[in-house]
């Protein structure tokens, strides 16, 4: 049985467990999100504060879903608390007796909640997601890198991080040598040792990138606060470079592992 929508506007109630200013912001962007389909009260983004009914999902991004600004420093403990609070409203188990339509919404809302939480709680996934929202496809190079390449007529070489060029070159030589050795059935413990040292260095760099990324987050967040478009673009480019470098190193380590057979 479906309930009809009450036409009388009712006063807005504030549920203190969730910051309503944030959830209302999430509802934002010109959708008709003002009132609950069931009781007609002011609805929050995902459920009605007055009657508790799950609302039809809105097409929002993951940051907006949690009522968060599009910034990268996220309080993960707070995010977890919100995740648990919203789960208590949206999960299908708690809406199992609602009508079919509400159950559908509950399923969609809670899958959106889970997807959003999974993405935002992880630093790398969160950064990748933000870049995608900003229109960056990560397999591309950063814009500056591409433009530089175009201007100089160079082959798309910039994807090898310039600061790694020398080491990468040496590593590749060694990999090649070791492959040859393996084909000939020869043993070269010193070479293997060298490669392992190189791998350890790259693994360390890989770890360091996580710290470096946090610096870029701060730049991005400040640029957002200061409405500075130029700084924003710069931070964006740096993050793209960093993530490219990161996956470059990851693949390099994988190549070494492959040749070393571990």
């Amino acid at each position: 049985m479906r309930r009809s929508r009450a036409s009388r506007p009712q006063p807005h109630k504030v549920d203190m467990t969730i910051d309503t200013s944030k959830t209302m912001a999430a509802a934002g962007s010109g959708e008709d999100t003002a009132s609950c389909w069931s009781c007609g009260d002011m609805r929050a983004a995902h459920f009605c504060h007055a009657c508790g009914k799950v609302q039809p999902p809105l097409p929002v991004d993951y940051f907006s879903f949690f009522g968060l600004p599009r910034k990268l420093n996220v309080d993960v403990a707070q995010l977890e608390r919100e995740f648990y609070e919203l789960s208590r409203k949206l999960h299908p188990d708690l809406n199992a007796r609602a009508d079919k339509r509400e159950q559908e919404w509950s399923l969609e809302q809670s899958s959106l909640l889970n997807d959003a939480y999974r993405t935002l709680k992880d630093p790398i996934k969160r950064t990748q997601y933000l870049l995608r929202l900003e229109g960056v496809e990560l397999e591309e190079q950063s814009k500056t890198a591409t433009e530089k390449a175009r201007a100089s007529g160079e082959v798309k070489k910039q994807i090898v991080p310039p600061d790694l060029l020398e080491e990468v070159f040496e590593l590749n030589m060694q990999l090649e040598e070791l492959r040859m050795n393996q084909k000939m059935g020869e043993d070269d413990p010193a070479l293997v040792n060298d490669l392992e040292t190189h791998r350890a260095q790259f693994e360390k760099k890989y770890e360091e990138l996580a710290e470096e990324l946090k610096g870029h987050w701060n730049q991005w967040d400040q640029a957002i606060d200061g409405h500075n478009d130029e700084d924003r673009r710069r931070a964006l480019d740096r993050m793209v470079d960093l993530l490219n470098r990161r996956s470059y190193i990851r693949n390099l380590v994988r190549d070494v592992n492959e040749v070393l057979g571990n």
């Binding site: 789960s87 299908p92 399923l107 899958s111 959106l112 889970n114 999974r118 591309e140 994988r254 592992n257």
Partner: protein, 633 residues
């Protein structure tokens, strides 16, 4: 307050139970015989009446061709999946079964599918509950092994429907057990549930937080349990009998059933006594006897219980936890009564495991708790909520036979993901979508769940259509897939119909294999992707040559492009992905001016600013993948 009468059912390999939560605590509902456990045994009597449970057990020995046990092992599986099962279990399949067909089991003159046989057990439980309430029961929560795949879950849900039950939720067994424990111990922390039952093994790691039971990782083996121990002992007894007494009774159903009964009794005694005697009266009147010490028993079964270690380690790794970070360990399933199993668990998690609740009943009790929550909750379950995960990754096959994973294992459910795909040929009207489950990089190594077509895509050049595929895993762990072509709005929606493309052994081994062979998988995938990309850019170049922009190039530029094109053609069929990548990048770079000229005069300004391959392909399986390119020169 809960008003609906929803029961919780543990549909086990060996035993099944039904439970309910009338007040603060869940209780198991006994059968007419006063016993809580209903053996998952189904038989036909001489009048073809269906007999279930304790009453059916005698048929296993008297008329084994009219009785069946451990049917859970066949749920959701095809003929090609169960070779191993048929060697170890006396399942009699109907004649003329075809690959891909649902299995049918011969009972006397009749045949039944596994969901039908499970439904007989469920119907018995339903009757027990109705007798207890003196009122009809139509709704149930049924438990499944956490590591059950989509097809096995579907089959279980079907069984409920056949038995006249609306299955409101499928709950994972270890998670259900944690609910039963959580009712008493309202505390926060990390809990590991080790569930070794009659036929399946699961391990789940949960985070408890003010009534929320959040599963963080799960793993298991749907082929591992007390049955395997029984079969091992039976094989030994059969060998003994052949060797010492010179008779082969391995094909005598009655003899094997008698030995099985004796072996199970001996196994149970050895959990509390240091020695026991295995005694069997064979059908010919001969007498087989053998003393067995606990030490011998432990040596024999060590390889079986060792198989639980791998999944436990993987679950810890996936959860990002060390053994010492586990606060509590809970034991579930009859096989955890074996002292050696307890010692192994204690050793692995460095905690004395909880055994306060009867390991045979705890899953059903937990199912009753979940039923209470679904019915609206009560004071006892207030604030309790279960957040479970999907045990296996889900994906779709893309060009080159590669699996594109779109929901990773251990994602909290419900979960969804959307991916965009495009066509590979001009005017292509259909896009075939192949849904897969598993951890391996190549589609052929994952379990095929379903295939479906998105039809009627309006004629467009290759790469222009954008097909959005949405995967949604519901709270039962069952997958729903829909697809839509975004430029035309063509829609296709399907419920995944399970296909039995792979054996369960393969599914089981998927996770383990994928760790053994991750490097090899990755290498193959890289080569395939590089070749696809080469095909794309070469096709785009062919188009470019026919465009007016081609004429604007200098002859030196054309020569250079031809040289680069040849270079790519030379390496594209080799197994060296870095060489292919290098040649692609060189050609991409060499054709940049051509691409720009084309774009300047192009129909769509939207394509501006993209390189050759992207301009032509849009997003699709052939567009560059988010795997960063490792280049060697």
């Amino acid at each position: 307050m809960s008003t609906e009468r929803i029961v919780g059912i543990d549909l086990g390999t060996t035993n099944s139970l039904v439970a309910f939560m009338p007040g603060e605590r869940p209780v198991v509902i006994p059968g007419e015989d006063g016993l809580n456990l209903v053996p998952s045994v189904v038989a036909l009597d001489d009048k073809d009446q269906v007999i279930v449970g304790n009453a059916a057990r005698k048929y296993l020995i008297e008329t084994p061709e009219r009785a069946v046990y451990s049917i859970k092992r066949l749920m959701g599986r095809g003929i090609e999946d169960i070779e191993q099962e048929l060697k170890l279990f006396p399942f009699r399949l109907a004649d003329n079964l075809q690959p891909g067909e649902v299995l049918r089991i011969q009972l006397g003159e009749k045949t039944f599918t596994p969901p039908e046989i499970s439904a007989f057990v469920l119907r018995q439980l339903k009757r027990n509950a109705e007798r207890f309430f003196n009122a009809p029961v139509t709704k149930a929560v049924i438990t499944v092994p956490a590591y059950f795949n989509d097809a096995q879950r579907q089959a279980t849900k079907d069984a409920g429907r056949i038995a006249g039950l609306e299955v409101l939720r499928l709950v994972n067994e270890p998670t259900a057990a944690s609910l039963a424990y959580g009712l008493d111990k309202r505390q926060n922390g990390i809990v590991a549930v080790y569930d070794l039952g009659g036929g399946t093994f699961d391990v789940s790691i949960l985070k408890l937080h003010d009534g929320i039971f959040e599963v963080v990782a799960t793993n298991g083996d749907t082929h591992l349990g007390g049955d395997d121990i029984d079969n091992l002992l039976i094989t030994i007894a059969l060998d003994d009998i052949r060797g010492d007494m010179g008779v082969d009774v391995s094909r005598n159903g009655e003899a094997v059933a008698t030995i099985r009964k004796a072996v199970i009794e001996a196994k149970i005694v050895l959990s509390s006594q240091p020695v026991t005697t295995l005694e069997v009266e064979l059908p010919g009147g001969q007498h087989y006897q053998r003393a067995i010490t606990r030490e011998q028993f432990e040596q024999l079964i060590q390889p079986i219980i060792e198989r639980t270690v791998g999944p436990c380690k993987q679950a810890l790794k996936d959860a990002g936890l060390k053994p010492e970070q586990i606060d509590e360990v809970v034991l579930v399933g009859g096989s955890t009564r074996i002292p050696q199993v307890r010692a192994l668990v204690e050793d692995m998690f460095r905690r004395t495991p909880h055994t306060d609740l009867n390991p045979d009943e705890v899953v059903a009790l937990g199912a009753a708790v979940q039923a209470n929550i679904l019915a609206g909750g009560s004071e006892a379950t207030e604030n309790m909520l279960l957040l479970d995960v999907t045990p296996l990754s889900l994906g779709i096959e893309v060009a080159g036979g590669v699996t594109d994973k779109i929901i990773l294992r251990n994602s909290t459910i419900p979960a969804s993901a959307t991916q965009h795909y495009t066509t590979q040929v001009d005017g292509q009207a259909n896009v075939a979508i192949h849904v897969l489950q598993g951890e391996r990089e190549l589609a052929k190594d994952c379990r095929s769940l379903a295939r479906f077509d998105l039809r009627g895509i309006p004629p467009m050049p290759a790469g222009i259509p954008r097909v959005e595929v949405k995967f949604l895993i519901d709270a039962n762990g069952i997958l729903h897939v829909s697809a839509r072509e975004q430029r035309s709005g063509t829609e296709a929606q399907i419920e995944v119909q399970p296909s039995y493309g792979l054996t369960d052994e393969q599914v089981e081994s998927m996770i383990l294999d994928s760790f053994d062979s991750a490097e090899e998988d990755f290498r193959q995938r890289q080569v395939i992707e590089a070749r696809n990309e080469a095909g794309t850019i070469l096709a785009a170049l062919e188009k470019g040559k026919k465009s007016p922009a081609w004429g604007q190039l200098t002859s030196a530029e054309k020569k250079r492009i031809a040289k680069l094109e040849n270079a790519l053609n030379e390496v594209r069929d080799e197994d060296d992905y870095s060489a292919i990548r290098t040649a692609i990048d060189a050609l991409n770079q060499g054709t940049m001016r051509l691409a720009e000229l084309m774009m300047d005069s192009a129909v769509s300004t939207a394509l501006k600013g993209k390189t050759m391959d992207q301009a032509d392909m849009g997003e699709g399986p052939d567009a560059p993948h988010p795997v960063a390119k490792a280049e060697f020169e």
